[in-house]
């Protein structure tokens, strides 16, 4: 059974569509429990507790925004292997999707490719959250539910993402396939020490590697949750850091204003593109890290960027994080900050002293005027002349310098 959980093929027949495959694996029955204090595992891996929810949230996002996508959602396939804590926190996951075993993955991925082949104007989206490893430089292997480190071959229930992506290229005799492909790989990229004892660690084959069709260009943009050799993290029972940051970007945190495209009111429209996600992801990963008060340093990496690919249109200007700081802070008791909108109307009523300091708030993206008056006048300080500030995602820092 490889039918998509969302299927708008009939309505979209003959038109380009987005075909999504979303996979989230937290339950690895052959790995120790997350809390188990066991060193028996050679790879030091345990079951996970946030990957299935992460995948589910990405799925929910697609459903919610399907009418705003540049290429409308036509099919979405979902494979989930949730952990008990995720099932408790998110009961909807129970029975929602087939488990993310190798057999299911293979069937789903082939069916997904067939959909992608219906037109070269299609777009595809692949999201995987779960365990991942790196065997050699440049590769990335994702582990499916039935992965068992005691098996031989050890990676027989794992898939090489390079083979996955290569198999999605236009090939001789079959040049029609989605020419825009997005991959979000939300998994570790560590190289377990055990791998040094192997000469070769073959993964499960997905398909034959056929020759790429010469002269047929296609774009595959890869967003990795982390850098080579690094771990990716999750919030227990909730979702992964990367998925949280990614969804914040998709919800508008990576908004990009296009003055060239106006809405009915004559206002520029806002979009999210591959390049704008790349620009904003680092900020949101840092912010999520701060929110959950962790010192984990997760860093994303991107590959395959080029001309911006528009993913979807936003409803309006997105909200942007603003940090306002008075310099020097000794002037706080005298500095009255004014923030006016595009029409000159005050939008913040900030009392003296500015509290908390630095002042943190969110504002709709757009143009503002910011100034500060020293009240009462002090010889060591001066007014900060009203200046225009353009607020655009992901964040803006306003430094109001009033020392004389």
């Amino acid at each position: 059974m490889t039918e998509p959980i969302i299927n708008h093929r009939a309505a979209r027949r003959g038109k380009p569509g987005l075909h999504a495959l979303i996979v989230g694996v937290s339950r690895y029955p052959h790995l120790p429990d997350e809390e188990e204090n066991s060193d028996s595992a050679n790879l030091k891996m345990r079951q996970l507790s946030s990957s299935a929810v992460a995948a589910y949230k990405v799925y929910q996002w697609l459903v919610k925004w399907q009418n705003h996508l540049e290429v409308p959602l036509t099919t979405c396939r979902l494979l989930l292997s949730p952990s008990p804590v995720e099932l408790k926190n998110e009961p909807t996951l129970k029975g929602l999707a087939s488990p993310a075993t190798l057999d299911n993955f293979r069937e789903f991925v082939k069916a997904w490719r067939e959909d992608a082949r219906s037109s070269n104007r299609n777009m595809t989206l692949f999201y995987f959250a779960g365990h991942g490893v790196q065997r050699v430089r440049g590769d990335h292997v994702i582990l499916l539910e039935d992965f068992d480190e005691n098996e031989d071959p050890i990676l027989q229930h794992a898939v090489d993402t390079t083979a996955l992506i290569d198999g999605m290229a236009p090939i001789e005799g079959k040049p029609d396939i989605a020419r825009t492909q997005l991959y979000f790989l939300d998994a570790c990229r560590i190289t377990p020490a055990l791998f040094a004892t192997y000469e070769q660690t073959p993964t499960a084959p997905l398909w034959d590697s056929k020759k790429k069709s010469p002269g047929e260009e296609f774009t595959a943009v890869l967003f990795y949750a982390t850098g080579p050799g690094r771990e990716a993290y999750g919030i227990k029972g909730e979702q992964t850091l990367f998925s949280k940051a990614l969804i914040a970007c998709l919800d508008g945190g990576a908004g990009y204003e296009d003055d060239n495209q106006l809405d009915d009111q004559g206002r520029p429209q806002w979009f999210v593109t591959t390049n704008s996600i790349n620009n904003a992801l680092e900020y949101y990963i840092r912010r999520v890290n701060q929110e959950i008060n962790t010192l984990q340093t997760q860093m994303f990496r991107t590959s395959g960027l080029g001309p911006a690919v528009v993913l979807h249109r936003l409803n309006g200007p997105p909200e942007v994080d603003i940090t306002l700081r008075i310099v020097p802070s000794a002037a706080l008791d005298f500095a009255r900050v004014e923030v006016l909108n595009d029409s000159g109307v005050p939008i913040w009523d900030l009392s003296i002293p500015l509290c908390p300091h630095p002042y943190f708030a969110r504002l709709a993206a757009g143009h503002y005027q910011v100034g500060a008056k020293i009240d009462p006048a002090k010889p060591q300080y001066k007014d900060y002349k009203v200046r225009r500030m353009y607020v655009s995602p992901p964040e803006k820092k306003w430094i109001i310098k009033v020392d004389g």
């Binding site: 010469p214 002269g215 060239n260 004559g266 080029g306 820092k397």
Partner: protein, 394 residues
């Protein structure tokens, strides 16, 4: 050839180290052999390398990390020397041995400080050996000695050899690669081989954490062609230099004094390259698109001394309103910088303005039942082009 050396002055400080190859003269390749690889006569590799070198020298103090070394290896064609006589004195062999020697010296410099920046530019011939396996061809490629691909180098081998390992823990963490070659897949020539080996530049060392910000800008996508203007530079290098000179500049945060410093970064370059390349595509009748691989994360490449010039297009909608639409553009100080005659001619109206904030207003005069004044809006003019559309429907 180490043409620029400022290591003594920058000792102990983060520094930029550049390595540039420009190869147009291939000793053993005839044009028919090139065609069998799916590539064409390269008429501009050396000029391109030289222009990149010139730009680096001219802008060494504006780089985010000051330039410490620049190695330049150029093998120009006779036609290039004719067009750019300075190349004659800069001509050196660009064989495999020269490549190995200069990349190893360059890597040694890169290893001195993790805050270093490296820049690698290769303009010459190349092809795609397999999926995601671009290859650069050196001057002595095709000598007939050794395997067929001797004196060609895989970009991936170079890239991974520059990664942080226990042997080079302090290697530059910001690295920029520009591979300005074709990436055609030479199907016919290679189909009779089971395995073909390029020459390794570096050994593969044990894997570790690779925390580099390392972007690889390819002048073409896999299977694609990189174009050049005969006797001049490649389209990609021209687009790149235009972008670095301001077409890909973005404004930084407003500083404490209220000033904005414009800069070009890896991600702004990704954003600006296509528009600029498309301009050149139109001029040259070419169709070229670029791709960025590696591990992209934002890093500032250079700062600008002043706001970059921006092409601004003003469009009034509907066009029937043009005879009564009075356009006015004011700068941040409130000074009128543009008040074109009515009706706007030509339409869309094109003007070059320094990057920055402007207030655009359109008044309908005399009043007209179908049209209304446009809401005065602040616009930010950023390169390469700002299109300001205004609706005046009542």
């Amino acid at each position: 050839m180490l043409l620029f050396d400022n290591r003594a002055e920058l000792r102990g400080k983060p520094a930029a180290h550049a390595l540039i190859f420009g190869i147009s003269s291939y000793r053993y390749l005839t044009s028919s052999e090139m065609q069998s690889f799916g590539i064409y006569y390269n008429s501009s590799g050396a000029i391109t390398g030289y222009r990149i070198y010139q730009w680096l020298i001219d802008n060494q103090r504006r780089l985010a990390i000051p330039l410490a070394t620049c190695r330049l290896l150029l093998s120009p064609s006779a036609r290039e020397i004719e067009a750019q006589p300075e190349l004659k004195g800069l001509t050196v062999p660009c064989t495999l041995d020269d490549f190995l020697l200069s990349t190893n010296e360059w890597r040694t410099d890169a290893q001195t400080n993790r805050d270093n920046l490296t820049l690698f530019y290769f303009a010459g011939n190349g092809f795609e050996l397999g999926k995601s396996n671009p290859v650069m061809m050196l001057q002595d490629f095709g000598s007939g000695v050794g395997p067929m691909l001797r004196s060609s180098v895989a970009v991936n081998n170079l890239f991974y050899g520059m990664g942080p390992t226990s042997r080079q823990p302090d290697i530059a963490r910001t690295q920029l690669y520009f591979i300005d070659t074709d990436r055609a897949i030479p199907k016919k020539e290679f189909s009779s081989f089971e395995l073909m080996n390029t020459t390794a530049v570096f050994d593969a060392e044990p894997l570790g954490i690779d925390d580099r910000n390392a972007a690889v800008f390819y002048a073409s996508t896999a299977g694609g062609v990189a174009y050049a203007l005969e006797g001049s530079a490649t389209l990609f290098s021209m687009a790149l230099l235009r972008c670095l000179d301001g077409k890909a500049a973005v404004p930084g945060e407003v500083g404490p004094e209220g000033s904005v410093r414009w800069y070009v970064s890896t991600t702004s370059l990704v954003g600006g390259l296509m528009d600029t390349l498309n301009e050149l595509n139109r001029e040259a009748g070419a169709h070229q698109t670029f791709e960025v691989g590696g591990q992209v994360r934002n890093s500032i490449i250079r700062y600008l001394d002043e706001p970059p010039p921006v092409d601004v297009l003003i469009e009034i909608h509907p066009v029937e309103a043009l005879p009564v639409s009075h356009v006015e553009v004011r700068n941040e100080e409130g000074t009128i910088v543009l008040k074109p005659a009515v009706p706007l001619d030509p339409h869309p109206y094109r003007v070059e303005l320094p990057g920055g904030y402007y207030t655009l207003s359109v008044k309908i005069d005399p009043p007209h039942p179908s049209f209304a004044d446009a809401h005065t809006r602040v616009r930010l003019a950023t390169p390469p082009r700002a299109v300001w559309k205004v609706r005046v429907i009542s």
